[in-house]
Symmetry: C5
Subunit: 354 residues, 5 copies
């Protein structure tokens, strides 16, 4: 469970701008892929050294450099040097506890996002930090691990579908952010499925496991919220920023992403409300059951305790107990048993406990 | 229960502006009706092909084109081409998970609303998306299903009642929005009836079913709220927009709708508060009952357990038990029984448990 | 219980400005009274037809026309024609589900308020809508029922006390609003008395009835709040409106009313907090009692159950049970009884359950 | 308990500006004291009639007129006449239900504050209204009762300590407000002590009395909050007011008081949170205990109930019960007793209930 | 536990600007250390008298004077005189109950922060006030106790690492604030570890100790929050202040600290939410267990109570009880025992209680 306590403390006391990787060393090897395209040309290749980025930087085509794995700080530093990134930006990239943010530094724009996955087995949301750097003809994306939600974007570039090959690097940036936000809907759908499943089972049979799932999902909503809320501001800042890097024609697409973000936030809040509701439903289901059990116990005990007492009386061994000798006493006692039981049951009926 | 998880995921990875219908395929066939009117003339007809809209578009009369059923994406695309709608708008129309919104695109205004129905049997609110496009002499309404809340508006147009035949397309837009909002009051009334019914029954006899209804209504309030809250902003934006499409004389009517929206929001919040109150009332009713049951159990058990013990003593078979031979012992034990019972009852009375 | 569901649905589909009375037909007959005054003259009379208002309208004196009973829509329409009121205003007057509001229409100002009563028997707040129309030399007040909180204002006019006879119609408007707001303090006092009574009884003897009163008052607070909250904005809007109808010298008095409104809101919030506190106190009182009952049950059961078992052992009829023949066995068993009981009690004492 | 329902209703229907004392008639006699000083001179005397204020008013020295007891409305009116106070201000002074406020009337500034006391026995906060009127060379303070928190200020004036004798009436006003706010810290400290005491006892022994103290303190926090929250705005308004009466050099001191007010509000909120926490701690303490009691009951009952049944079997009087004649049957049954008891205990151990 | 009630009351009635130490007299002796540096030179020494600061003050190098221990008010006053600090600032320095704040006085800037420690044994956060005074070539830091979080800053100065030796006193101020805020992450990590530990144990075995830890951590979060929330405003004010003391080049670093502060606040809120979630998990764990115990009790009691009653019947000593003489009666009764038990178990199974 490294989500709460990524060892940020390793950085304690270091000067601002020091590069220290904070996070799980999920990928030891850093992988670099470059996709370079414009309306006519398209090129995709894996790079083994940072130096090989150099030629792409100078070409007027749009270059998307994707880097998977941040634990090798040396590589990140070299990328920083090649593309002339500020040390504070580099520090933010390798510090995977960053809050989503947008920064408009003069020569480039910097965006930090959280890419999410949902483990349906354990009801856990996995969080991976994605940092995006936008230059005037390139986008660099930094990810913690191999595997991402950008495959569809790559396909659109490869096949030249839609507007992407004709547009600039700012549209590519938008496409990547859009892919991340679109993925939140997938997470929401999966969580929504779980919630609807719970709604079904909780009414018919409120089991402790259901409760545990509710608690787990509630906790995950806390994390989801933490990743999504700041995004609203991030994208709003992008839209309102007067950065020359983001063209006016891209604004309408960013506003679209903004709408999606609001939608996701709405969804998270709705789920939180629904989980609270389920929690209440569960508790009242449990309390109803407890109530019923108590009633059965009380009725059994209250009926049989007096009867047992009566039987106990005539089990006493006193020498002089006149009833014992009576001819019909035993049957009379049976009558008493039945009478007491019936009276008790009528009493409970009147009280509406039966 | 498709409300939580309409399969938005089908859109994953597509370029912005791709037309994919998201929602229940409730109506396979798309139906088109056109109402064309001005102060003097009135014409209403069903269309079987999109091409037949063409003549209405050019006429200076107000044209209301209503389209029921969005699953046939091809039809929507053709309407878009005919009326020159932006692909992003078309995408929003067929994506029925849209949040209520108002967009003022240069040549037309675009409004997304939620039309609600209430299934009193299941205590479920049904949500249908209505998209309205306002041009300078036409309004196009897109609905998911046949059947709507606009019949009264149609009647007013047919019979030339009120201001509607004399006014322009913006007033028609207002009339449609007003009809949708007015319908929210109907929903609120139905929910209000349910709540008052619950208030009655919950005090006299707190049953688990009442609880389930409370939970169900609470959940529906979450959805109602989600549909109504954004409306406030939508209509506010319409009033403040400087779109040439919306005439100044219509503003006063929009402000009226705005007031209604605030009223609906107020009502939803009041109902939420009242349902929370009912929830508490139910819980304390249950806990009172539990308390009473516990008291009866305790009193029965506490009175008879010592008595049974006493009876047990004299049921022992020791050879030497002097009391057994005493002449009045049996009656003495009876006295003891009565004395213990009376003392216990007095004790409970003093404790105010009886 | 008509508060939740006044049949607004009757209005569904009507054009804006249609006059439909929504509310309880409490008063079939509409009563009209006119009070006409200036510093020197004073006249008060009942009117039987609307036409008789006409002469007062033209006089330079201040005219206060009070109308009780809104169900006769025809009368309202005539008043509207006589004083030249906009149809939308008239619609608001007869729709008694209106939210408190202030509207500054060019020739007059329009205020909607809620006049409250408190039924101490049933702990219910009664809500009556009061609409006030301010013209440059008249005020028209519309009430749902005969009987109001304005008697003191009438007395001040009749007796020429204070500033009222010297001031204009705007001061009269202020006096009426002030009377309505002042009346809220009376309601608050009555509710406050109830709360203090509850505070007393709930600690000494937490009965289910107390709980029911708490729930009832909580619910009434929801309604009170709904009536009072919007008032803040209403009066604020009045103060800030640049309407020529409201003179500068009246502003200070409106600010005074504003202060009172804030005070009432404060009071409502305080009462809500206190009722929540009482709710908690009640619940913990109940849980303490439950706890005590459980303890008694447990102690009784735990002491006597083992004793009864021991007695049961020596009640067995085995042919060979050596103890039965022992001379002091019976007394030994008594010793055992006492020892077990004492040990149990000591155990409970140590556990601090006794 | 007059805090909730001071009889404001007595004022109902009176014209604005009517002087009616609302509050407890704690002090029948109105006492007046005057302190008159500048850097060189100092004079302190009790006044028996209002007329004797007259000479002080004209002197260029700073005059502090303190009035204890507001029930004698005639005195207040005379003071008003002497110092030319507006009737609405006088009305606010005698209405002790006033919300803290600041008003900048042209010739003077008017401040209403709440002076608090804490009765540690009853855990009750006492509230006394203090009204301060600032003129250009005088301050008049109105209090409900004899006894206040201003003694230290008087001492500073008498002994000429600090800046006070050199500064004007606005600094005196600040000193009085500061004394009132400083006193809130004393209240907070006392409440804080109570809370820490509770924290200790509630963990070791959660008694109903602790609960009652928590509820009482929570309720007092509601009142404290109500007195302190508006103060923030009051002092902020003073700082930002452009009244000529408050010199620029005093602003820094007012900002200091403002900081203290924020600090007090922080403290109140912290205490509210802590009391909520204590409430939860108490409840879970109680529920733990309940749990333990239930466990003991269950274990006792579950072990002995089967044993008693077995004993009951061999207490039956059937003529033909083969076991009764067996030689070792009695000892065998003892073995059975032990075996059952051991098995039950093992079962409970495995369930972790023991 | 002095956190709630540091004896601020000692200051009651004193004039503003009076120096009274409020806090724990943790360090009787006041220690002074000076670090003086610029890019070329570096000097570090302990001072025994305040007068020895004098020479450093005049040097153009950056001087950092650190003072540990505030109880010796005389020393603080002398420092104040030497560096010409305003009495109100000095008062704030020795009053350790200060809220975090930033003040921009003309010749210097003044910052109050809270330095935190976390006692993992007792789950308690320790709070120490740090006051920082920034002059144009010096920073003075005042701490309550020896021992701080600034060692890394000292090392960076000593070893000339990073930017610090080249930058001015404003950068030093930033470095100190950064060190304090960085330390909050350490606290958060420790608390996060505790929370994750709790998450593990609470599901498997919900013990009262876990509850106590939850309550303790919740309480500490209140204090943490109180220290961190105002910081947001403090640093924001620093960034926006137009003080000449803070150079433009330092703003980017302050914004970095601002980001960290938001991050810490986020973390605190997340922890609060998670602790609430754990609280709920614990409670439902407890209630599940209670439920299970109740079930076992009910089942045992309900099965054996009727059986014991039957045994009791045939233990009665009536002379005429026909069954007693029957040959197979005893075995028949055994059959009855088994039948009743089986029926009960089947009933419970059907009710899903087993």
């Amino acid at each position: 469970m490294p989500r709460l306590t990524k060892r940020r403390s390793h950085k304690r006391g270091l000067a601002p701008g020091s590069l220290v990787f904070i996070g799980d060393k999920a990928t030891e090897i850093t992988q670099m892929t470059v996709i370079d395209y414009n309306e006519e040309t398209f090129q995709e290749q894996k790079l083994d050294t940072v130096e090989k980025c150099q030629p792409f930087k100078k070409k007027p085509t749009v270059t998307w450099l994707n880097i998977d794995g941040l634990s090798n700080v040396e590589v990140i530093r070299k990328v920083g040097e090649t593309f002339d990134l500020h040390p504070l930006i580099l520090e933010d990239i390798v510090n995977t506890t960053q809050r989503p943010k947008f920064e408009d530094v003069d020569k480039y724009a910097f965006v930090v996002l959280k890419m999410l996955t949902f483990d349906e087995e354990k009801n856990r949301i996995g969080i991976e930090q994605v940092s995006l750097v936008l230059g005037d003809n390139f986008v660099i994306s930094f990810q913690e691990r191999v595997g991402d939600v950008f495959e569809a974007v790559r396909d659109r570039i490869r096949q030249g579908k839609g507007r992407i090959r004709k547009a600039g690097s700012d549209y590519l940036l938008h496409a990547l952010i859009d892919a991340v936000v679109d993925n939140y809907f997938i997470i929401l759908e999966k969580v929504g499925d779980k919630i609807e499943e719970l709604e079904e089972t909780i009414v018919t049979d409120p089991k402790p496991e259901a409760m545990r799932t509710i608690h787990a999902l509630k906790r995950e909503m806390i994390f989801l919220r933490k990743s999504v809320w700041p995004l609203r501001e991030v994208i709003n800042n992008m839209v309102r920023s007067e950065s020359a890097l983001i063209q006016d024609s891209t604004h309408i697409y960013l506003r679209d992403v903004y709408d999606h973000t609001i939608h996701v936030i709405d969804g998270v809040e709705t789920f939180r409300d629904m989980l609270s509701g389920l929690h209440d439903t569960y508790l009242s289901g449990i309390s109803n059951r407890m109530n019923e059990i108590m009633k059965v116990l009380t009725i059994f005990a209250s009926i049989f305790i007096p009867l047992t007492f009566i039987a106990g009386i005539y089990g006493m061994n006193f020498n002089y107990m006149p009833e014992l000798g009576w001819r019909w006493a035993y049957f009379g006692v049976w009558g008493l048993f039945v009478a007491v039981a019936v009276l008790m049951i009528l009493y409970f009926k009147r009280k509406k406990w039966l």
